[in-house]
């Protein structure tokens, strides 16, 4: 009998582990809502449609890096026909605040700060606030 | 040798590449002669109160099964699923990774895909799925399930009597699935409808009533022992005494009966008796519990218990303190893993202590039964025996680990320690063929009968092949082992595959080397073969 109870106890332990996310959320005091991303006030569109940017911005950034560094191209024509300088610091971070935009979502998703930011500084943070 | 056996050259026309076109779910059409044992005689079933005693043979079309045989088997399965976790688990969790496939000596010797342990088990599993699982009930053969039909039953008989319960597959299985366990259950189920083999049932019935496999009655038993005493006197000039059924001895010695009626087992018996005399052991053997072997192991757990009962019962009657067991493979599987559970507790005995060395055998403190190799290895290690290994110089020895002491016990070093002290020339076979990876003799678990000769030789191929390796490399001419079935069947296998290699027991080698007090100079070994002349000192090269 003791062995059966032992097996049941281990089984129960396994189930607690498997359903851990449920218990974890029940215990959460804070909201599970997605982060509130502060969008630039003075722009209506990004360089690509929102849906693309939400899922695949990292592809775009890598592509930019490739074009600038290896092919010396600097101008990006956006989906709505505008021209942008391909620059993370200058263009992206010119509109988006790293802390209130990039980091919030990355933290929510558990994406560790990408090494982009090892080199690229956040100009707004340097200036001390939003424009 | 029977006419069923092809020549070695014919027999090795084997491929390990099963044809993909056939489907294993289809039962084999015919049972091939030379690959199965004859049915059990009705008198033997009657002796053990087993169901459906009748005259029949496996090669006949009609096996005269009881009308409700399917129900009997399925109920039997149901009952055993509830009684054995091993059975239920092993039915459920095999992933068919195939790691076991080429580990079976019968597969290596036959190339028959249904001898792959996984498929042997699937023969049972497919029926389990059909009647005991949701997927099998719903999807039939697409879920690998099949109906329990007469051809399926015949296939069970065929292949579960092509398994020697050696457990080698279990060593390699990531879940430890032990085909021996499945074979044992399958044989229990077959027993329920009266499908048994005589080579198992006759020894069981004899052992139950008379006390040993051959049914040798007390007076003949005494004669055999007296013959051994005479032979020892001829050899050594010493007249020893062998107490039988003696009350109040310290030790009850139990050996496989083949030791006193079989050859080359007999030389091992001489070795034991010489040893016991030399150390002055206060012991007795018994004409009632005259069988260490237990063919019940190959029939059902109940029969195993019935036969094993006698050992403790006799120890109690004679008032001994502890038990010593001889050289036998499956006997030690039973003694090590089943006896205490089945017929214990042995609380009327004392923890074995070697009267010579004072060593307390703590590893047997519940069962109180010591293996002769443990006992002798201890004597040698403590320096209590005078040995002359040169008296074994005619032998270039290799050691065959018997399946059960290796994989059901772990008795690996003790016999080796004895061989190293008693022989000057000892050579190991290749690594994957010894110790826990040892190969079966091919005739264990009740398959060692003449009509089964082809399958036995097939099963012996991997073992013989490893022996051949050391024969060619080191001139090995003696295959030492500690199993009565080995001693009975390996000589045939050696003759067939590796002529020139004899088979002998470890205590035969000990008997040769043992220098006894007051013995005359020996001119022959235990087999009455002249000793190898001591070589002159080789000239030293500068």
């Amino acid at each position: 009998m003791r062995k059966k109870i032992g097996i049941l106890a281990v089984l129960l332990g396994f189930f607690i582990l498997v359903t851990f996310p449920l218990w974890h959320s029940v215990g959460m005091r804070h909201s599970l809502e997605p982060p509130n991303l502060v969008l630039p006030a003075n722009q209506k569109n990004c360089v690509m449609p929102v849906a693309y940017m939400r899922s695949s911005h990292m592809f775009l950034l890598l592509n930019w890096r490739e074009l600038v560094v290896r092919h010396d191209q600097h101008t990006f024509r956006s989906f709505d026909g505008k021209s942008y300088n391909m620059s993370l610091t200058g263009t992206c971070l010119g509109c988006h605040n790293k802390q209130q935009f990039c980091d919030r979502c990355h933290t929510y998703m558990g994406v560790q700060t990408p090494n982009c930011f090892n080199c690229h500084v956040d100009p707004m943070a340097l200036r001390g606030g939003m424009r | 040798m029977s006419d069923h056996a092809p020549s070695p050259q014919e027999l090795v026309q084997i491929t390990y590449q099963p044809k993909g076109s056939t489907d294993w779910l289809e039962p084999v059409a015919t049972l091939s002669k030379g690959r199965y044992c004859y049915s059990a005689a009705a008198k033997n079933l009657n002796a053990m109160d087993l169901p459906n005693p009748r005259e029949w043979q496996p090669f006949e079309e009609d096996w005269k099964l009881p009308p409700d045989w399917q129900k009997i088997i399925l109920n039997g399965m149901q009952a055993r699923l509830k009684k054995f976790r091993s059975f239920r688990l092993f039915m459920d969790i095999c992933v068919r990774c195939g790691a076991c496939a080429d580990k079976c000596h019968f597969y290596l010797g036959s190339g028959d895909p249904k001898n792959m342990p996984v498929l042997r088990a699937e023969l049972m599993r497919s029926v389990y799925r059909r009647y005991f699982t949701v997927a099998g009930r719903l999807f039939g053969k697409w879920a690998g399930a099949r109906d329990l039909t007469v051809p399926v039953l015949k296939e069970w008989f065929y292949y579960f009597y092509q398994c020697t319960e050696c457990r080698r597959c279990s060593v390699f299985c990531p879940y430890g699935i032990d085909t021996a366990e499945i074979t044992m259950i399958a044989r229990e189920l077959l027993n329920l409808v009266g499908v048994n083999v005589n080579w198992v049932m006759e020894p069981v019935a004899n052992c139950y009533r008379v006390g040993n496999h051959l049914g040798i009655q007390p007076h003949s038993f005494v004669n055999s022992i007296e013959m051994a005493v005479d032979d020892i006197e001829d050899l050594t000039g010493i007249r020893i005494e062998v107490p039988i059924n003696r009350n109040g001895a310290e030790v009850l010695f139990v050996m496989p009966s083949a030791d006193y009626y079989g050859s080359p087992h007999y030389y091992t018996l001489l070795g034991y008796l010489m040893l016991f005399h030399e150390i002055g052991l206060d012991y007795t053997i018994s004409a009632y519990a005259a069988e260490g072997g237990n063919f019940g192991l190959f029939a059902s757990n109940e029969m195993m218990k019935q036969l094993n009962y006698k050992i403790y019962a006799e120890a109690r009657r004679l008032g001994v303190k502890w038990l010593l067991g001889g050289e036998c493979g499956h006997m030690w599987r039973v003694l090590n893993q089943y006896m205490d559970t089945m017929n214990g507790p042995a609380d009327f005995l004392e923890v074995p202590v070697s009267p010579v060395t004072g060593t307390r055998f703590e590893n047997t403190r519940s069962t109180k039964m010591v293996h002769i190799c443990e006992f002798t290895a201890d004597l040698i290690h403590q320096g209590n025996l005078k040995l002359d290994p040169s008296r074994n110089d005619q032998w270039r020895v290799t050691f065959h680990d018997s399946c059960n002491p290796a994989r059901g016990m772990g008795l690996l070093e003790e016999p080796r320690a004895i061989i190293r002290s008693t022989c000057n020339q000892f050579y190991e076979m290749p690594e994957n063929t010894i110790r826990e990876q040892t190969f079966c003799c091919g005739s264990g678990a009740g398959l060692g009968t003449d009509e089964n000769i082809e399958m036995r030789m097939r099963g012996a191929l991997p073992r013989a092949n490893a022996v051949k390796y050391v024969q060619q490399r080191h001139g090995v001419n003696m295959l030492a082992c500690i199993c009565a079935i080995d001693k009975a069947t390996l000589p045939t296998a050696m003759n067939y595959w590796v002529p020139g290699v004899e088979v002998g027991g470890v205590h035969e080698l000990l008997g040769n080397a043992l220098v006894m007090q007051g013995e005359k100079e020996r001119t022959t070994d235990l087999r009455s073969e002249p000793l190898k002349e001591k070589e002159k000192e080789a000239p030293v090269h500068a």
């Binding site: 059966k4 049941l8 089984l11 996310p21 959320s25 599970l32 929510y108 558990g110 090494n115 | 070695p8 084997i14 390990y16 099963p18 993909g20 076109s21 699923l81 509830k82 009684k83 054995f84 976790r85 091993s86 239920r88 688990l89 459920d92 992933v95 068919r96 496939a101 080429d102 498929l119 949701v134 697409w142 690998g144 060593v171 390699f172 430890g176 009533r209 008379v210 006390g211 009655q217 007076h219 004409a287 757990n301 218990k305 019935q306 090590n336 893993q337 089943y338 205490d340 559970t341 089945m342 590893n363 519940s366 069962t367 443990e374 201890d378 290690h381 059901g408 016990m409 772990g410 994957n432």
Partner: protein, 333 residues
Amino acid sequence: MSPLRAGIAFLLVVLVAALAYFGAETAAVRPLLADILPYAALVIFLAGFSFKVIRWAWSPVPFRIPTTCGQQKSLPWIKANRLDNPSTKTGAWGRMALEVLCFRSLFRNTRAELREGPRIAYSEDKFLWLAALAFHWSLLFILLRHLRFFLLPVPHWLLGMSALDGFFQVGAPGLYITDGVIFLALLYLLARRFWDAQVRYLSLLADYFALFLLLGLVLTGIQMRYSDRVDLERVKEFALSLTVLSPHISAAVAPLFFVHLTFVCVLLAYIPFSKLMHLGGVFLSPTRNLANNSRIQRHINPWNPPVKVHTYAEWEDEFREKIRAAGLPLEKE
């Protein structure tokens, strides 16, 4: 037979994928897939898994039958193999740990070949062990990594683990080592079932099904991470909504995700009915999890049956005259 079985298994997995894909685009089915299927799968998994384990646990272990794979403990001067032939409970735990974490038994694997002579040659064959180990460890890593969708905030150990998995920092999103490893391992395990004649012969539809399902799962995952990305923020929103039992999924989540999700659910629900129960069963195998101490301590069989025995007295009665003639002592004259 085998190609047919493999083909049907493959089609079954394609069918699951197609149902999920088109279901995701059908207004009536989409909520079924997202809101109900995951719970149904989890419930089936938990209930089925317990059922199986309890049924195993309630079947007793009548005999102590470890497969001993090394030297026993006997005389003090003989070195016992404490892991492959444990004589203590601790040793048996150690053996189990080796088995479960390192696949000890599979590591022994060899391949036999019959050569001229005849000579049977055994060669090391560690690929099965390597692929199995790589697959299982990668799967565990990947499962744990997926916790980032279910936990908020994402715990540090999880971030650390993901960083370790993405150690090489290739591309963005960073390449996970386990993604490549699990794919290659599965591919090997599948290829083996086709190429190895022995394994091909014995494989059942279920064997292919499990592999194709896992491959489908891995491939859709890889596709969503490295190529056709889905909106992960909304996926996480969905995952979190599942944890608080009020599931809702954004219309912006692409059908590809539904295929991945459905594969997971099918796998989860399939486990209790299949060989994948080895997940639980491996811990209960009596040839591995017991100490070889049956001569040291009596093992109890709860149903130890009474059997008919042939007693000494019966034996003596039957053979009295012969025993007397042989000069052996008798109990009753």
